[in-house]
Symmetry: D2
């Protein structure tokens, strides 16, 4: 399986009063790491959105995070990202967040290429074949 | 089980380019809803932190979110929050996020009352008895 | 001049490691207070966006903030918001952020009702007359 | 004057419904660019905080931002950062945010090295001499 690595340096304001990184930042960074994954594979999300009529993005359907070690300022974190599974209309992304050789957090996200229905509901589109062929 | 309800009105900037609420905001709001839960039970987190030597907060150990419906601006969302389980050193919070009578998102979070060890690792403290007695 | 008051309770995660509210949250809250201003006047931004072809929102043209007192968790902050000036294509919003009778922050923002040009530049639209008539 | 350049790639979720970067992100990024400035000069903020008893960080006293061009996803933005002025207890940081050779935003921030008084008020400390000698 192809793995990409996206790196972030923890900043002062990524931490809360306990001086450890707030979980909302992992949510933001996993969006970024997923975006980086597609970009590194040559199928950037921004191009997909422009080219696929109606495509809105790859929002979360489900996510599971496990926090193993706290991260703090000014740690450098590496997000090791893979697509573990491609199904017809969803895909499963896994992230292993490392500080050096220490596991900080691991997560699994189910995402879909989505369009918006006329009634305001999200609808999962089939995975674009060009995305899948570049990522497998 | 005791349930509290915390309400938020979705703002323009809570949504991304697809005009649906970004998942990082649910992470932020679930922190707020958990905080509100303790406050509504008469054991606010800010007081606990002041009174318990070393206590840093109630960071996440694990979280699981399922996104059922997209929320958008200017929806009003109600977070129905319960503590489903008290164990010796962790507790399990569940959130059901509703827009009217429609389920938008449901989540289960494992959290701990944590202190920081000398080596920078988080250590779960026993659940403060006063917290537990006010919340059961 | 009409003044609206929007209230927020500072949460744990709104503060950084120094346990004082990070400035980025004031930026977010001033967006919310501005949105609340229009809603309270009966001309909500979400309706304006739906009704005005091309209208994208009321992004900042310029902002000036002065931080007078630090705010912390769990302070309650009240944003006193006015439109100080309506010009042809921009308007000036002022916010006074109070904790009790103590001034925490004051800000002045220049905003415009904006559309996006074909070349990706923002273009200020004339202030919608219905907005102005409800707010003066 | 010494200038540092800190680069960020705009991500999907940095933009709001209008698909332009929300101003709160500039606030966050200017914190990061300021932190990067000190790190690049060999006096990282995290070390200063460890070494200076009571030092909490370099919070904003005042800020002024002018938004010249909208930025969008996936723009690459470069923050050109200088300290324009060192006074006894505050310093003035300027940021010019560029996309290629286009000015996107310019800002001037007054910041102070701050400690917290016993009564919860921020107090500006004298600028640490080692910081000043590395940055001038």
């Amino acid at each position: 399986m192809i793995e990409t690595v996206w790196t972030v340096q923890v900043k002062f304001g990524d931490c809360g009063p306990a001086n450890i990184v707030l979980s909302r930042n992992y949510s933001r960074w996993m969006d970024a790491a997923t975006e980086h994954y597609f970009e590194a594979r040559g199928v950037p999300l921004s191009s997909q959105i422009k080219e696929q009529p109606g495509l809105l993005g790859v929002p979360l359907v489900e996510s599971h995070l496990r926090f193993v070690q706290p991260a703090t300022h000014p740690d450098t974190l590496r997000f090791h990202t893979q697509v573990e599974e491609w199904r017809a209309k969803v895909f499963v992304v896994s992230h292993r967040v490392m500080r050096g050789d220490m596991l900080v957090c691991e997560a699994r996200e189910t995402r879909a290429f989505c369009a918006l229905d006329d009634d305001g509901r999200l609808r999962a589109l089939p995975i674009p074949p060009s995305v899948r062929s570049h990522c497998e």
